[in-house]
């Protein structure tokens, strides 16, 4: 099917919506211009409705033929909760993109992917592209517990080896992703590059684990972002002692040069407002999201 990338007809319609866990949903959205242009590492900015926040989300998949892009959203605050309450056939009011700088796909040899929580979804297209480029792909998937673990099967299909870790041992091995990484190194696995996407604290320790081995390591940073077009500087991160804009220069940066502590402080900027906003929303929509 040939799509008119300049047409607004049907734009941002949710063609398919699937709940992967009580808080994580997959949305397939009609956006042919983005679908035609998407590469691994690109993200989009979503708005649920007028008055809604601009929420950056990394693309999980895209289909230029169907004119669709796929995102996986974890309901954390009000906006993401609202998005995950959407049903097939409803519309996002805005989907902007693709944004950011895609990841360079090349032959490294052995590539290690480390995804935590919903970050596994964002790791998926990158791991898949490396596999397609002829790399050996080892994926470590970390989650708090079994019911929050997503895309295990899909990752298995594109990885040479998948290791699952959960905090409570309800799936895979009990422990942290870094435990699994240490075992790989200890077993003599030669890792040529590592990619990590997940909670900041996890990415920081992934970087510390690969550092002594000199493994080139890249982390997908998730700062507070507003316009996503390089205009506001709110998403600035410190990489190699220099300010960089995650929205246009990233979101993937050299993890060994990233100041994760600063990133953690800056992402906490609106925590109070976000919590009160979610609380208000939950009060008004008690039955729908089951937070009470």
């Amino acid at each position: 099917m040939k799509h008119d990338i300049y047409s607004t007809e049907g734009l941002y319609r949710i063609e398919e919506k699937e709940d992967l866990s009580p808080t994580i949903s997959r949305h397939v959205i009609y956006a042919p211009l983005i679908a035609a242009k998407a590469r691994p590492g690109h993200f989009v900015i979503l708005r649920a409705r007028p008055g809604g926040e601009r929420i950056p989300v990394t693309l999980v998949d895209w289909n230029a033929e169907a004119g669709t892009v796929t995102v996986i959203i974890q309901a954390i605050g009000k906006s993401t909760t609202e998005m995950n309450a959407f049903k097939t056939g409803e519309y996002f009011s805005d989907v902007a993109g693709p944004l950011g700088t895609p990841v360079e796909i090349k032959k490294w040899g052995t590539v290690l992917g480390v995804g935590g929580g919903v970050g596994i979804a964002e790791l998926y297209p990158i791991a898949r592209a490396y596999k397609e480029a002829g790399n050996k792909v080892i994926s470590i998937l970390g989650a708090r517990s079994k019911d929050l673990l997503i895309l295990e099967k899909q990752m298995e299909a594109i990885s040479d080896q998948v290791i699952v870790t959960t905090d409570d041992g309800s799936a895979g091995r009990k422990g942290l992703v870094t435990d699994a990484m240490k075992d790989l190194y200890a077993a003599g696995e030669k890792i040529d590059a590592a990619f990590t996407i997940g909670p900041i604290i996890m990415m920081k320790f992934v970087a510390e684990t690969t550092r002594p081995h000199g493994t080139p390591t890249f982390a997908s940073l998730n700062p507070v972002m507003l316009d996503g077009t390089g205009m506001c500087g709110g998403c600035r991160v410190e990489v190699g002692g220099k300010p960089r804009f995650a929205c246009v220069d990233g979101p993937m940066f050299d993890a060994h040069l990233t100041n994760f502590d600063l990133l953690m402080k800056r992402t906490a900027a609106y925590r109070e407002q976000e919590a009160s906003s979610l609380e208000n929303y939950a009060r008004d929509h008690e039955c729908r999201i089951g937070l009470h």
């Binding site: 990338i5 300049y6 607004t8 211009l33 983005i34 242009k37 900015i45 708005r47 008055g51 809604g52 926040e53 601009r54 009000k78 906006s79 009011s93 805005d94 989907v95 902007a96 993109g97 693709p98 944004l99 950011g100 507003l226 316009d227 077009t229 390089g230 205009m231 506001c232 500087g233 709110g234 600035r236 410190e238 300010p243 246009v248 600063l262 402080k265 800056r266 906490a268 900027a269 609106y270 407002q273 976000e274 009160s276 906003s277 208000n280």
Partner: protein
């Protein structure tokens, strides 16, 4: 319409229009200038001498037919007055509000020195508002379709001007906007109390009615490149603006609570964070706000901050009031609203708490030394004058430079050392065939009116090029 004989009454005192009370307006985002009622407008219009040589019109960046429209206001034919303005500018409600008329038409008015100029800006604004509210505005007729396609990158004032002119001439125009609202700086930058959003939306909507295609959420340079657009369009006009914030490069700039003016204004204006939690985008100013800078963006930032009801807003400027680049009217408005001005003061370091939140600003007093390259006296720090200002938030409003993304992703596009696209001034032609540029992406941070002027000039050149191809 009754045709009143016109007797100019120039000696009546210039009417500057009414304003919202400074104390009341400090706690709302409603428009500060209230302008004229019909009677006031007609009286003010009667002051115009209808000079034959039209100095006001010649001084106008977009050549509004000033004496003619003012005469029609005097005759109380507001629909005709609006149509008269439309002949050269489709955006009178915007220009009537944000144009610094005191440096253009009103500076050229022959009444200026004796009685004060005719309040042309207020009359333009009144005409546009009255015509809009009374359904008197008719979108201008467009020439038959030429089959030629033009893409405008960005939907700020320069692109809007190009789109309007070229659509009128029958070309198919598509406007690409990266954000979810059209208008560029008119939407994300200029506060609603200077430019209400319904005004921007109405004038943008008129383009839509004329058949201009407006596409949001497309960031040219990322979503689609100039080279890709070239396959589908005959001409591309780049009006991507000056959206790159200038950092202070002072220690502590990464503390939470420190904003670029772009982020702060985008949060408050585009995302309407001042309505939080009724809208979802939050803001944080705390009790004490510091704004750094002396231009219009600094005034807008300080005045937005004041409306978020902190205990105080302090503006730091390293020179004196005389050197401030901001419009005099905006500085006065800010002062009336209770913003504290610290002249000859510069921040040197920002200090935070253990959570990385801003706590206080280390400042230094300046004095004016010898003139620098710009001809202005250079501020130099006074030894031993360091002092602290307590602050929960700080807005850096010391300038913007051109958005770099298109320049970085378009091979062969010549760029100057400030990142601005190099163009031929009279036509907006860039180093690449069929690609034109204008507004802030060329000039750096300039004004809405110069951006529109660039757009009109480029539209003329583009039309010439497209017509030549057809024949």
């Amino acid at each position: 319409m009754e045709n009143k004989p016109k007797k100019p009454t120039p000696s009546i005192k210039q009417n500057h229009g009414r304003h919202q009370d400074p104390v009341a307006r400090r706690s709302n985002f409603d428009e500060v200038a209230l302008g004229f009622g019909l009677e006031e407008a007609v009286t003010e219009a009667a002051r115009c001498l209808n000079c034959k040589n039209k100095p006001c019109e010649l001084a106008c960046p977009v050549n509004v037919r000033i004496p003619e429209f003012v005469d029609l206001v005097h005759k109380e034919d507001l629909g005709a007055a609006a149509s008269k303005i439309f002949e050269t500018s489709l955006f009178p409600a915007i220009c009537g509000r944000v144009c610094p008329q005191e440096t253009y038409c009103e500076a050229a008015c022959v009444l200026k020195d004796r009685f004060g100029p005719v309040s042309i800006g207020r009359l333009e604004r009144f005409t546009a508002d009255y015509a809009r509210k009374n359904g008197l505005i008719k979108p201008p007729a467009c020439a038959p379709d030429t089959g030629r396609k033009v893409a405008c990158v960005g939907s700020g004032p320069t692109s809007l001007a190009v789109a309007a002119e070229l659509r009128k001439l029958g070309h198919a125009v598509t406007v690409f906007e990266a954000l979810h609202e059209f208008g560029g700086v008119l939407s994300y930058g200029i506060p609603t109390f200077r430019l209400p959003r319904e005004v921007v939306r109405f004038e943008v909507d008129m383009l839509r009615k004329m058949g201009v295609r407006l596409l949001k959420n497309v960031m040219v340079g990322k979503s689609i490149t100039i080279d890709e657009l070239k396959k589908d369009f005959d001409v591309i006009y780049i009006g991507s603006g000056a959206g790159l914030p200038t950092p202070m490069n002072a220690p502590g700039e990464d503390l939470v609570g420190v904003y670029s003016s772009n982020e702060f204004l985008t949060r408050v204006n585009l995302m309407e964070a001042y309505k939080f939690p009724a809208v979802d985008t939050p803001y944080y100013v705390g009790k004490r706000v510091v704004v750094v800078g002396g231009g219009n963006t600094a005034m807008d930032s300080a005045r937005c901050a004041m409306r978020l009801k902190p205990e105080r807003v302090t503006l730091l400027y390293r020179r004196t009031r005389a050197e401030m680049p901001a419009r005099g009217e905006e500085v006065e408005n800010a002062m009336e609203e209770g913003i504290k001005f610290e002249f000859l003061t510069a921040p040197v370091e920002l200090e935070g708490d253990e959570k990385g939140r801003l706590k206080r600003v280390k400042c230094v007093r300046m004095e004016l030394g010898a003139p620098d390259a710009s001809g202005r006296r250079r501020p130099v720090p006074q030894k031993g004058s360091e002092f602290y200002i307590e602050a929960d938030s700080l807005v850096v409003a010391i300038g913007q430079s051109p958005n770099p993304v298109i320049q970085q992703t378009t091979a062969g596009l010549s760029v100057n050392k400030w990142g601005g696209i190099i163009t031929e001034e009279a036509t907006g032609k860039t180093s690449l065939d069929g690609i034109y540029a204008g507004g802030d992406v060329v000039r750096g941070g300039a004004t809405v009116l110069l951006a529109m002027k660039d757009g009109k000039a480029a539209a003329r050149a583009i039309h010439e090029k497209l017509s030549a191809k057809v024949n």
